[in-house]
Symmetry: C2
Subunit: 288 residues, 2 copies
């Protein structure tokens, strides 16, 4: 089985209109942009094995997509294939890299050096694609001064200077959720215009700033949903015949629920997981 939508955990502000205006300016659909990195990865693997050309069918298989989709995606970039032959691997690697902006150097700051920050600092995938960790930052004095991935952790107060000096335009937030918005504001103020947010919080940013979100727990919840379906479970026994009934019956039920302060169903929900506050999600991970 394969779960649906090729997409799901990122881009916190779902405004396709805005996206369209931005990226379709020269015509590349957002969905295509999201797949380009996949193709690029598959292509680089082929390139290392010195494969000279590849057909849309083969490449699609390697990238885990359908070949028609791949061809259409490439058609937005231009006509880079040769009919009867396929695509020149090296050439395509270059074209996609260029389109994604990976032929230039992108300095990146990572804010919040807990376990996740560490993992990202060490993440080879960054360095190998034009991204360079300009600095690791944290607010916790106990963390500042330690080293991660060969780089010293510096104090948040240096942020503005670092961003200015190295022309950093991309920031990664791996702080606890409570600190995220504050850090975000400061990044934006300092001049960062693209933010990758790992904290489970909705960030508010001014126009002109892009935010993408990666939420570790959302993915797991989506899996749980499908897993539940597989088990054949109707979502649960529940008290819910009323809920699907139309008309006055439902109204009465709603009234009852409110009167009872949520009813027994709600209490059941409250006691179900650990009693811990769910918005503290990352606090265990990030010291600062």
């Amino acid at each position: 089985m394969a779960i649906g939508r090729p997409s799901s955990s990122s881009s916190q502000t779902p405004d396709p209109g805005a996206a369209r205006r931005t990226s379709r300016a020269r015509g590349i659909p957002e969905a295509t942009v999201a797949r380009l990195p996949l193709y690029l990865r598959a292509l680089t693997a082929l390139s290392e094995r010195s494969v000279p050309t590849v057909s849309s069918e083969e490449l699609a298989a390697a990238a885990g997509v359908n070949s028609a989709k791949l061809r259409k995606d490439f058609s937005y970039l231009g006509s880079y294939g040769t009919r009867g032959v396929g695509y020149d691997v090296e050439y395509l690697v270059y074209q996609i890299s260029r389109e994604l902006g990976l032929t230039q150097d992108w300095p990146v700051v990572i804010v919040g050096i807990g376990n996740l920050g560490h993992a990202l600092a060490n993440y080879g995938g960054f360095a190998s694609r034009g991204f360079r960790v300009a600095a690791l930052l944290d607010a916790d004095p106990n963390v500042v001064g330690t080293a991660a991935a060969g780089l010293p952790v510096r104090h948040m107060d240096e942020l503005e200077a670092i961003v200015a000096a190295q022309h950093v335009s991309i920031g990664v937030i791996t702080t606890p959720p409570g600190a995220a918005q504050q850090v975000c504001d400061r990044l934006v103020e300092a001049g960062v215009t693209s933010i990758l947010n790992f904290a489970p919080t909705v960030l508010t940013v001014p126009d002109g700033v892009d935010v993408r979100k990666v939420d570790l727990s959302i993915e797991l919840q989506i899996l749980a949903f499908h897993e539940q379906r597989k088990a054949g479970d109707e979502p649960a026994a529940g008290d819910s015949v009323l809920d699907r009934a139309p008309g006055p019956v439902r109204a009465a039920a709603a009234k009852l629920r409110r009167a009872a302060g949520g009813g027994k169903a709600a209490e059941q929900a409250k006691s179900a997981p650990t009693g811990k506050g769910p918005e503290d999600d990352l606090s265990a991970v990030m010291p600062a």
Copy 2:
């Protein structure tokens, strides 16, 4: 500015048909499922502040979506609101939790205890939503026996026994990409039917197994794309007037490229990033 599609980094097999068959079985669109965790997070926050009811407008703002979309999403679950009033927070928390399958306990194994594995093991967001780390596993003898997040790291060989004993149906892969498929096969063999993959690899799984993918570097690449656009850069100078030209001109250009083994463009691409192999992405992160 807000980047488009609310979605983008997960679900490695983009087969909406299959997804539809699975989740629309009782009518909930995949896009809606992906947003339910967002609503749930916002609602739990309200619940902690003891807010009794919330309007679609308020909740939508808190979750970072449009209110019409939110109402439509909820309408797939049933009619849980009260006109003129809004939604009962506690009741909605329960309904969404139930729909997502979070009212039951989901034991999870994490395979590959490097930095990322550590981060996930410590991730409060798991435990607080019905997920329980059943075991941490690694193949590296140096890692086995150490502790992470209060749990001992056990050897891969115990996998089958653990999965069977604790009825684990969800596995998380945080190994280097080279080991991912092998680990995946073993998880599936042991009985795991949902996999969350952090390794930058396309996993092949039999029917009936769900895979979702979280790719840290893809998100960054998408940001770079938009950042490049903001800079007003046409993707690069390039050699590319030919590429958009139709007809025989293009054909000739393609021929030339192939003859030259990729041409100067390709070499430029090859030397652009660090010379490191891109599929080793996670090797620095994960010891095993």
